[in-house]
Amino acid sequence: MTELHEHLFRREAGRLVATLTRIFGVEHLALAEDVVQDAFCRALEVWPFRGVPDNPSAWLMATAKHRALDVLRRERTARTLAPELARVLEPDEPLFTEESIRDDQLRMMLSCCHPRLSEAAQVALMLHVLCGFSVDEVAGAFVSTHAGVEKRLTRAKHVLAESRQLFEIADGADFAARLPAVHRALYLLFNEGYHGASPEVAVRAELCREALRLTGLLLEHRVGATPATYALAALMCLDAARLPARLDAAGHLNMLAGQDRARWDPDLMAEGQRLLERSASGPELTEYHLEAAIAAVHGSAPRLEDTNWAQIVSLYEALLALRPSPVVALNRAIAIAQRDGPERGLEEIAAIADRDRLGRYPFYHAALGELELRRGRGAPARGHFAAALALARNPMERQFLEQRMEACDVAPVAVERMG
């Protein structure tokens, strides 16, 4: 009997909805979603008796197709659908190819990154439509309410439907123009998993995995496989390689300095290095190149003290020039502290121009705490950790910061960037 592949239905949901939406037209997204739901119901009725079919994807696609034909014959919507539709859906038409399903997912991915949608809405829409996350699961991932996510998705689907058709990937120029927005949304999706607020370890790992999968789809396409896409994929692999050490099975958060490097995933690390090399093929230097390079420097250090901090400082300086942000400036200051000592790090933090914007960021206060602790000033360090604790977003962060407060009463410890 065929084994049930892990996350089969989640993956198939995205593939089926993308393909059926291309056929029905984007204004019939809800119909595509209904038909897929029906096919899944049917699977649950049949597979327990018959076992998993040899080709579950083909089984689900054929079932969804038959169901769509039933709906078309019965409902008036048939009249508003394209005339060639019935032919496409005829039972004896060949099943969709892997290539066409991949292209359908790309069309949907690019459609989700519609300029009229906020970045947060783009990410939520991708998770829901392309990754098979229910409204509740999206809400869980973003630590948001069911009602809030539902409202955001309804509005996003409305914008999608108004665009009349899915994004056309045949036009290379349009595709290339939309690509930066797609990179950004995938980057945010990944970071929601890596740095995000969800206390569920499994949920966060899934967000990282989905971001990697979707980025992989871009890499399979002629226009999508740009140096920036390779760099983004490299960054995701190199960061994801550290995820098992960053969050242990009990959900405890470990910053880079405290991570057991033996638990880093060597395969993902190697894949990230390979992708980073591929990304260096053009004149374009993106923030993803720089962030991936930083992750690669960390990844190549067997122990924390082997880290090439000078290289990390210069990469952060390049990143700051490309995309100025107080968080990047903070990370640069922390790297300088590792290179030149905690006093220099504190000076650099004090010199961050828009430092006030970091006030709500728990790891700004935690960084101040670490540096004070390292120069042996336990009392102010404790105060900074307390400020960080007040801003903590989930139990993992709270527990981590409580431990750091306790450490203020013991011995100084090394410190590094949030990662």
Partner: protein, 118 residues
């Protein structure tokens, strides 16, 4: 050993609502298959049986009146059946308690097969 039939009954709405997200479906499917496998490994499955379409026809009375399913008058529809071997009704009932349909508000009807003595 005696034979029993499990009739899996649920409403269309309940079965759809119980399915939830793709990830929840994955879990339901795993539970179903694990339950079936466990019964099979213990030698309780005489025949895994068949799933049934949720719609069909009703043929009724001397007039042979034919009406469409789903059957408005019955709250639940039989979605499939399995032929089970068990020591007695008590054991067959006990074994049915692991059926995942129960999690989704459905029910299992356990009916002894009438022995056909020659």
């Amino acid at each position: 050993m005696s034979e029993f039939v499990y009739l899996y009954r649920s409403t269309n709405e309940a079965s759809r609502a119980a399915m939830g997200s793709p990830e929840q479906l994955q879990k339901s499917m795993q539970t179903w298959m694990a339950w079936m496998k466990q019964l099979a490994d213990q030698g309780h499955i005489k025949n895994p049986g068949h799933p049934l379409e949720r719609t069909g026809k009703l043929v009724k009375g001397k007039q042979r009146t034919i009406t469409d399913g789903p059957y408005a008058e019955s709250k639940d529809v039989i979605g499939g059946y399995t032929l089970i071997e068990a020591k007695d009704l008590a054991e067959a009932v006990e074994l049915s308690k692991g059926c995942p349909i129960l999690e989704g508000g459905g029910l299992v009807e356990v009916r002894p097969v009438l022995p056909m003595s020659m």
